[in-house]
């Protein structure tokens, strides 16, 4: 049981709709394209409608309109924010010299934001964690050196076009195979992940709908 549907009439209706949509999507497996395309459009439409409602209900009304109408003096930053959105929304008809600096400001701000987090939250702590610590004992040191060797070999595989000796070339070849092995392992993860989703859908049809699983 997925637990999302109540045992009453509404829940039963929800289960039937979910069943029809699931079977409709699976019809693609037997070559039916029209129903599948219709359901794709349905998903896109529903998602867009939900997003619009969420934006109005959870963002625009409580965070923009209500503060602007009821308590504007205490929210002075909202006015330049609205102006910024107006510039971005009107990008099609505004001159480029007006839009470009605003767009650049936004893109640079977002990039700096993400980059700062990546450096402080991931790069530096992960570099610190990757340092080989002799205090961890033999296995820790061996793990560290294996990780270092793999990292160097994989980085060598990305040296395209630059002059290389035979030793570096061989290392790059090994690095490429290590890279393929890593991607293969990730593909294995994906296979398990997607298979479990399919099994879950089959269990939904057999259990929630047909009641064959207890």
């Amino acid at each position: 049981m997925n637990g999302f549907f109540t045992p009453d009439l509404v829940g039963g209706l929800g289960t039937w709709v979910a069943v029809l949509l699931t079977v409709g999507v699976w019809s693609y497996a037997v070559g039916e394209r029209t129903i599948f395309r219709l359901l794709q459009l349905l998903l896109a439409g529903l998602a867009t409608g939900y997003l619009a409602l969420l934006a109005i209900h959870d963002v625009l009304l409580p965070r923009l309109l209500v503060p602007l109408v009821t308590d504007a003096p205490n929210h002075p930053l909202l006015f330049p924010a609205v102006a910024l959105v107006a510039v971005m929304a009107g990008a099609a008809w505004l001159p480029r010299r007006v839009v470009a600096p605003v767009a650049a400001l936004l893109v640079a701000g977002v990039a700096a934001f993400a980059l700062g987090g990546a450096i402080v939250g991931t790069l530096l702590p992960q570099m610190a964690a990757a340092l080989i610590d002799p205090a961890t004992g033999g296995s820790g040191v061996i793990d560290g050196f294996v990780a270092l060797a793999i990292t160097i070999l994989v980085l060598l595989a990305f040296l395209h076009g630059s002059p290389r000796g035979r030793f570096v070339q061989r290392g790059a070849g090994i690095g490429r195979w290590l890279l393929i092995g890593g991607i293969g392992a990730w593909f294995g993860f994906l296979l398990v992940s997607r298979l479990s989703l399919l099994v879950d859908r089959v269990a939904f049809l057999l259990g929630d709908w047909l009641g064959l699983l207890r």
């Binding site: 963002v59 939250g121 296979l191 479990s196 399919l198 699983l213």
Partner: protein
């Protein structure tokens, strides 16, 4: 038609009675024990923030694990507050909150809603995570402790492709180093999140199906257990064998086609 054949095989395997000979749960319960240890170490009436941002597409894989974790937290006396930073996460959070209220857990949970802005919203929430319209005893408790993320003893991040525990580690942890983070994620996020567990930035992580099933099996069963039944092992085995057969057959055909060219 291999797709239809796969569906039939999975359906047949699902209908067969479960056998102890085929187990999906990881026999190495280290990760499951880590999460259980963190939950067991919570003080009474602890406030736990659930960052709920899974994908619609992959939530089916972690649903049983997430529900087991929520049950585990509530069984240890925790009070839960749900917040989402992605629209998909918000849709699923609303469904889960509805399910929990129907199960009689309404007094122990708070809905902090959707925060726009993705990672920027995440950063804004560090200082203020309770919306003005949030009501209830749990929301009041958070406000009494300052209304910021620092009010929480633990953060459980239910991850998805759009916003995972990585965003929390990169944007929240540097601003709130004392925060304790644990995560549940679909299998495809395992390679991305595992390094954070090894570096100690995550205190516990369940990011493979096997670890999730091991954890779900370890959490005591109650009346809601029927809604958190883990994925069956037998159809997974049948599906994997079928997939391997298809891949092996494809590789053999390719080799057979390539042999004459190589010989020439």
């Amino acid at each position: 038609m291999p797709s239809l054949g796969l569906l039939l095989v999975l359906a047949l395997a699902s209908l067969l009675p479960a056998s102890d000979a085929v187990q999906l749960a990881n026999p190495d319960a280290t990760r499951s024990d880590e999460l259980r240890g963190v939950v067991a170490g919570l003080p009474p009436n602890a406030l736990v923030l659930v960052g709920f941002d899974p994908d619609l597409g992959t939530y089916g894989e972690i649903r049983a694990t997430v529900r087991a974790a929520l049950d585990d937290l509530i069984a240890h006396g925790a009070r839960l507050a749900f917040v989402s930073f992605t629209p998909e996460g918000r849709a699923l959070a609303a469904a889960e909150l509805d399910r929990m209220r129907r199960a009689g857990q309404g007094a122990l949970i708070a809905d902090l809603g959707f925060v726009a802005g993705s990672e920027a919203g995440l950063v804004r929430s560090v200082a203020d995570v309770v919306p003005a319209d949030a009501v209830g005893a749990v929301a009041d408790s958070i406000r009494a402790r300052g209304g910021a993320m620092g009010a929480f003893t633990l953060v459980l991040v239910v991850s998805g492709g759009d916003l995972s525990a990585r965003s929390w580690i990169e944007q929240v942890r540097p601003r709130l180093p004392s925060i304790s983070l644990v995560a549940i994620a679909p299998t495809f996020l395992e390679p991305e999140l595992a390094p954070y567990l090894r570096s100690g930035q995550l205190h516990a992580l369940l990011a493979t199906l096997r670890d999730g099933v091991a954890y779900a099996n370890a959490v005591p069963v109650d009346q809601s257990a029927v809604t958190r039944r883990p994925i069956s092992a037998l159809p997974m085995l049948a599906g994997m064998l079928l997939a391997l057969t298809l891949m092996g057959g494809s590789a053999l055909r390719r080799l057979a086609r390539g042999a004459p060219r190589g010989a020439g």
